[in-house]
Amino acid sequence: MFNKTLRVIDVQRIDNAPLAHLFLETLSLDFKPGQFVMLRPCQWEYDPFWPRPFSICTQDEHNMHIFLQIVGRGTQKLAYLQPGDEVDCWGPLGNGFEFAVDEDLLVLAGGMGLAPFIALSRKHPNPQKIRLVFGHRLDLDCYPWHLIPAEVEKVALQQETQTALKDFEKRLQEEIFSHSGKVFACGPRPFLQVVYKYARQAKADAYISLENKMACGIGACLGCVTKTKQGYKQTCVHGPVFSVHDLEDF
């Protein structure tokens, strides 16, 4: 766990898509895929008030790479940082995805939910154990798809229409029901709700990563809780990854 002010090394915005790659000074920290950091540019002063949580997409000796989607004020501002700007950063936070190197993984990613799985597939010693199904709205080349090792068995499916979405939902159902090992999922809430439904029906050993609003990221504010069998639990410390069987009322 560290808490540092990092410099922005580079920001690459994707043309015609609300997406950006943010490269910060590296920390050479050890992290588990699915863990995240809280980021808050120093120039924000009092407004926006909160830091924002982001999965660590990749990290090497040069930089920490965050893949972000512009959805509101904060991500907009993050995507327009300049090299040299300073960002307060603390992490790695949360539990991350737990797996054994030799188990078969079905990884379901929706849009921006790809981010933690880039780390997962790159850090995995046996990437051929991973089957990745990626649903996306924008063109595939908007996403850092190429960062995923070739050994990963990967399928990308674009949904531009309501029909495509229905088809994708069916596909998710099939994938979940036909897989015997662990299932990991990350993506927008409606996507996770589909995974949640089928994974519970299939009694699959499935884990989903939640993107609740967070103020502190360290379990202190009790703002990010989700309803589990054991009551309300902070997503930032008991998650963001939860077994679908532990989650209630999702």
Partner: protein, 305 residues
């Protein structure tokens, strides 16, 4: 110039005036990774009730301009779990651990006090009669001088020698009225302010941003309101006051003390930067030197009007 950062609030001795506010610093331990807890002036832990509480449904928090709304609803592990699983790990011999109390009746408040009066690890009790996010207890006490006085009398009777801090709500027409009532009832120290009632909505979903509809507003946005209320209480009563509300930098700490607060609590700003409270403690000596003061007796309440 050597400076002395200690302050004394009616018997409550603090190594420095910087405490962390209830509900914004967990049970303290969450922040141990960001600094040395023992360096703080004190830690006010999350509001505790007799039994564990689940709190309100989600969403519970929303960001607002220069601040935030929360409707946590006092989720907590209950006083006993706190004493068993948290307090032993806190540096209570080196810094003041203050327990923030929440209850739904006079009797429950009294029961909490008697449970704690013998706890060596506890420096003081902070009675929360100002939470806007619960159906019972909380703010109803804090908006009614008669009820507030009763609660405090009960707590005082049962708290033994522990200093009793009463935490006031800003959601009142005249803060002086309620301050007087609880001082007369025996409050040793007042802390203010708790959050201001507020609300946010989302025009795209047409729904309130908080499931609870209403929440409490905190953060830099409310600092001017807090500062005024602290000044009003300090300049009208002879009681030690802990200033709270939007404190986010070292200048803010000095501002609250200038209008009369003997100490302060840092709240929502801990989210903004989890190392902040520790950093403020470290920044104290330097700003005292810049201001040309060697101790806070030369500063507290010295506003020139």
């Amino acid at each position: 110039m050597s400076v002395d950062t200690r302050v004394n609030l009616g018997g409550l001795q603090l190594k420095n005036p910087i405490l962390t506010a209830s509900g914004t610093f967990g049970y303290g331990l969450e922040f141990a990774q960001f600094g040395h807890l023992k360096e703080l002036g004190g830690i006010v832990v999350k509001g505790l009730s007799l039994k564990p509480r689940q709190g309100n449904p989600c969403p519970r928090i929303v960001e607002t301009p220069c601040g935030m709304l929360n409707a946590i609803g006092l989720q907590n592990i209950g006083i006993e779990n706190f004493l068993k699983y948290k307090l032993p790990y806190l540096p209570f011999q080196e810094t003041a651990i203050v327990v923030n109390l929440y209850a739904q009746s006079e009797e429950e408040f009294a029961a909490l006090a008697s449970l704690l009066k013998k706890e060596e690890g506890i420096a003081a009790l902070e009675v929360n009669i100002s939470c806007p996010n619960v159906k019972q207890g909380g703010i109803q006490f804090g908006q009614n001088p008669v009820l507030a006085a009763k609660v405090i009398e009960g707590v005082k009777k049962n708290a033994g020698t522990k200093p009793v801090i009463v935490k006031l709500s800003p959601n009142v027409t005249d803060i002086k009225e309620i301050a007087k009532a609880v001082i007369d009832a025996g409050a040793d120290i007042l802390s203010l302010i708790n959050t201001l009632g507020g609300m946010a909505v989302d025009i795209w979903t047409r729904k309130p941003a908080l499931k609870n509809v209403f929440g409490g507003l905190s953060g830099p946005a409310i600092k001017p309101i807090a500062l005024k209320m602290v000044y009003e209480v300090c300049s009208n009563f002879n009681v030690p006051v802990i200033g709270i509300g939007g404190i986010s930098c070292i200048e803010d700490v000095l501002e609250f003390m200038l209008v009369g607060a003997g100490a302060v609590q840092v709240g929502s700003a801990n989210f903004k930067r989890p190392s902040l409270s520790f950093e403020l403690v470290h920044q104290l000596p330097e700003i005292m030197r810049k201001l040309g003061i060697s101790g806070f007796q030369e500063w507290i309440g010295r506003l020139k009007t």
